[in-house]
Subunit: 460 residues, 2 copies
């Protein structure tokens, strides 16, 4: 019997998050005020984020202790298993060893709970009574709802209207955990009312939902916003994923040559790869590791975007960040990997990419689902469409190793399961799935909307 | 940190199934020929079941080795975790310790894969080219499809038409793994054609689908039927669940006072409790264990049925069995726990119930979902509606322990996750769920359809 799943004993679960800013020789560019374009002062955000989280966002402390209450909740589903994809390897006839870290075992079926539990904890400590957030398909919204229920906070979720109407099931989960779910644009905020006045049938967008969540929090005392990706502290909360992997590889006596993940805002990939990068930066890595970010060809910010300051939301209510972006007005064509449809990327990952520390690859939807199909036929598990991007890259790496006749150890992040994405798989099995690739024209248009920021002045 | 999940190292996974027939002082009544009512001769079944499986069905050997190829596939997702429901205990304020065995981690999200992999393996060895089966909501159908794909067998699934139309997602999974899925009644069989001729809009029933699967297999060489529950060998394949639990409790240093499971055909509950019963029968138990079967009040065979010989399918194409039954013509009111809507029960579990070795309790749908709601709010995980029956009983046991001020160790089977049952949870959260309880009148009518069998003559 060859072992296929590796569990970490609970007592070996990491007890501190890893902050890569401590080890990076150069830091990411600072956030800017969305109107003045000046470097941000903390007071711009104190009305919507608790101080403890703001400090974590800016911290350069290497290890940040995970409080006991958070560890207890992590233990409901962590450490998550690391699988060896023996059956996939056999099907490919590759000499490569393929591993995947399975975050689909969490209560809400994806990695999002790791950050939701932490974020809600610090809000609870700061006296926040209610949290607001945006959600697309609802992965983040459901994770935040459960965490709010656990800590006794109220929760208001602005859910992109088209998903609210077409994907009712994650909305059901949020309601089960007591959250109020509003279709965005909503009549609850000025932002929403203005948009609906112009276009009563507006189907919504993530950028609108973010603006509504921020407006709601600013307007009401005791209310803060909770973020599910993009920001440094969110990626840091997710480093439990990579830290567990390192322990698991130590147990196995193996180590990856390449670490692969899918990137929307970047929290899954960041959480997986940052601890491996940190090991490398500190000179503690056993061998050099390549980091590969994967994204949809429909929303190819890392591969076809500009590295520039841009707005993070449509209305410019939150800070600007320097990141790979397609422009804040970019509207990606419809794809089933709803979690990867953000116009920008984590500023931290963008910085790493700009320094050449991360490679990136974009894939069309058809080749992504082809990979997911092979995965579920061999390994049995049903991956989220987002995760299928990482699977596509892992398969390609394994086939390259076969061609070259070389051993290679591949690790990819299985960010979540696909039980709530079966409509997409149905389209795939029916041959009704369209490939979905951003046109040069679309990208050119939205890139032109990126505001001009005088970086020299900012750096002064 | 208090441990909440207990993993068994893969090398401790059971390598033999447990056959309780070896330890039972009295045996269940034999199957009878559906027409002659004579005890069954093996030739009645050899055209639809491979000899190895028939032998296992009748075997009195205590341990049956699990072949290496099956162990390898079990290792894709087994051993499954045993959880301690610390947060549920706290919410109840009970001195009881509540454990649950989580079979939702399997690729298809329920315990069914344990039996599907084994059944397909023996068919493959016997040269079967194609398997047919019946499925309601599709838990069993999806598990069989994946196993058939893994072993390279074709698979034809007769899916109750109302589920085929209303619950497309498990159908999608079956198709992804290459199975042909037909709405039953279908035009593929004489059984289906006859029914459709009388009632073109017939929504189907499990008893019809079973008859179609059997007719298809009988009519075609190289084709056999695969069963997902009820029969002895299926319950035996599922004993990996309970055998793992015993090992896990040994690791923890705890042991259950009561073992609870939901019962449709009986494979989840049987798989969980039979190894504990065996330990007791052999005088190896540390303390007496109570076994509690839970079922829906809409289909209360163990609590309101007759213990009698009855047909297992609507057309009487397969053997009659002595079991707790509501009558083979019983049509339960619609409930969301589709997996528990069988008119009868496993003959083996029925025998144990008739001897007083198993208690049984029926619950209305509202109280079942109330329990599921509390479970998902405390533990986070979303249980299948079937599993919620076991949760209901576990909560009641824990509250009784609190009333009595007594410690009690409770183990229940979480047969699967509920990610494909969110429509039911939506109805619950909307307060739109109807309680669903069988009427005396309905039960009286179908009980009257149970055929009269001269048991004295059979025993001669």
């Amino acid at each position: 019997m060859e072992e296929r799943r590796f569990y970490l004993p609970p007592e070996k679960m990491p007890t501190a998050w890893y902050n890569v800013l401590a080890d990076l020789p150069t830091k990411p560019a600072p956030y800017l005020h969305p109107i003045t374009h000046e470097p941000l002062t903390p007071d711009f955000l104190t009305s919507i984020l608790p101080m403890a989280i703001l400090e974590q966002e800016m911290s350069s402390q290497r290890w940040i202790d995970i409080p006991g209450e958070i560890l207890d909740l992590y233990l409901q589903y962590r450490p998550s298993p690391l699988h060896r994809a023996v059956r996939l390897e056999e099907a490919l006839g590759t000499p490569a060893r393929i591993y995947y870290k399975n975050e689909g075992v969490s209560p809400t079926g994806a990695h999002k709970s790791n950050a939701a539990i932490a974020g809600v904890y610090y809000n609870k400590k700061a006296g926040t009574k209610r949290l607001t957030t945006d959600t697309g398909a609802g992965q983040w919204g459901s994770a935040l709802s459960l965490a709010c229920h656990w800590f006794g906070l109220d929760c208001t979720i602005y859910m992109v209207r088209v998903s609210y109407e077409q994907k009712p099931y994650r909305r059901t989960m949020m309601r089960m955990w007591g959250a109020e779910v509003l279709p965005s644009p909503s009549t609850r905020t000025q932002t929403g009312r203005d948009i609906l006045a112009k276009d009563p049938d507006c189907i919504g967008a993530l950028g609108i939902a973010v603006s509504e969540a921020v407006e709601d929090a600013r307007a009401n005392p005791g209310v803060c916003v909770s973020n599910g990706s993009v920001l440094n502290h969110v990626l840091m909360y997710q480093t439990v994923i990579g830290l567990e992997c390192i322990e698991q590889f130590n147990m196995i006596g193996d180590d990856p040559d390449v670490v692969i993940g899918c990137v929307g805002g970047g929290s899954n990939f960041g959480g997986l790869m940052l601890p491996f990068l940190g090991r490398q930066l500190r000179g503690e890595a056993k061998k050099p590791v390549r980091f590969l970010a994967t994204e949809p060809a429909a929303c190819p910010s890392l591969t076809r975007g500009a590295f520039a300051y841009d707005y993070c939301d449509l209305m410019g209510l939150i800070p600007m960040a320097k990141m790979y972006t397609l422009g804040h007005t970019y509207v990606p064509p419809g794809i089933h990997a709803g979690g990867l449809r953000y116009h920008g990327d984590s500023p931290l990952l963008s910085h790493l990419r700009s320094e050449g520390r991360i490679d990136a690859e974009a894939y069309g939807q058809l080749s992504v689902f082809q990979a997911g199909d092979l995965f579920t036929k061999t390994e049995g598990f049903l991956p989220a469409p987002e995760s299928c991007h990482a699977i596509r890259a892992a398969i390609d790496e394994a086939l390259k190793a076969k061609e070259e006749g070389k051993e290679r150890v591949i690790l990819f992040g299985l960010s979540g399961h696909g039980f709530l994405d079966l409509a997409a798989y149905e389209a795939n099995v029916d041959g009704a799935l369209a490939d979905s690739i951003a046109t040069d024209e679309d990208i050119r248009k939205s890139l032109a909307d990126i505001p001009v920021v005088d970086e020299v002045a900012q750096a002064a």
